[in-house]
Amino acid sequence: MECSELDKKIINRLSGDLPSDMTPFAALAGEIGIDESDLLATIEDYEKREILRRFAAVLAHRDVGFVANALAVWHVPEDSVVETGEIMAGFDEVSHCYERLSYPQWPYNIYTMIHGRDREQCLDIVERISAATGIRDYRVLFTLTEYKKRSMRYFTEGRPRI
């Protein structure tokens, strides 16, 4: 979409953290310099236009019991990518399922992010996905160290992006 300067300002604030206030949208609208009702209507509009996926809390998954996550990458024949991707996406434990560009030295073309309570559970899920799809050429990439994890902050002013 074409973002006006006001849109950029609003999106920048909404991609940050909601103020700790009993009426947080009034506080946020005050920071932006618009009426609360205009802010609420704008958020609704962004959602309707699917610019905003959702307005929600982002949890520290590790701390609420999902201590293991694995990126499973699958080498799926070109002609069954859609069918296979849809089966994989149907698993509750799969939060993200994307097709991505592959390379001769890295032939994996479907990526599934799998969440479980431990490594064993993640591996069980991978085996169930393999059985359900018939895909045997895959790798399970566990996270060893998390160096950075944060939400994207959009339209930051001053732009010192590096």
């Binding site: 996926r53 307005f55 890295w106």
Partner: protein, 159 residues
């Protein structure tokens, strides 16, 4: 491997709230009154519980989750093969960039995986070239998304 982190210390109300607010936080004048109605407590109790969950780090952020492509941002997943003895240094350089949102060490020969978003395609190209020249790592593959089957980050918080 241990399970649970702080999960054992969650009250029934907190668990309900977490399950609820990770799908949607009410967008209205009195969101905590609305939340209280959803889970069965007062506005003040909902506010206090959410504040406590934020302070304890169980809620990282409450805000908008945008579709970066819809906003015109260019994004990529990048995987690098980094020699073990240089790993810490390279990971630190990659994390410095503001547009890098996730940066993980993973199993396997491609061992550093990061996601990056920039406001324009040329900005993205410039930053990736900069990462390559600063780290000296040549084995770097870009894995742009060609199709999305599922995007969801809501997980059930059970017993």
């Amino acid at each position: 491997m241990a399970t649970g982190g702080d999960k054992g210390q969650l009250s029934a109300l907190e668990r309900k709230l977490l399950n609820d607010v990770q799908s949607s936080f009410p967008v209205c004048s009195r969101p905590y009154a609305e939340l209280g109605q959803r889970v069965g407590c007062t506005e003040q109790e909902a506010y206090d519980a959410i504040q406590s969950l934020r302070q304890r780090g169980l809620i990282r952020r409450i805000g908008g989750i945008f579709d970066s492509a819809e906003l015109g941002y260019a994004s990529a997943l990048v995987a690098m093969k980094v020699p073990q003895e240089r790993f810490e240094q390279v990971a630190r350089i990659v994390s410095e960039y503001e547009g890098v949102t996730h940066n993980y060490e993973r199993d396997g020969d491609y061992n550093l995986w990061f996601t990056i978003s920039q406001e324009t395609r040329p900005d993205l190209e410039r930053v990736l070239a900069d990462i390559e020249s600063r780290t000296g790592i040549k084995e770097m593959i870009r894995l742009p998304t060609t199709r999305k089957f599922k995007v969801r980050v809501v997980l059930p918080i059970g017993e």
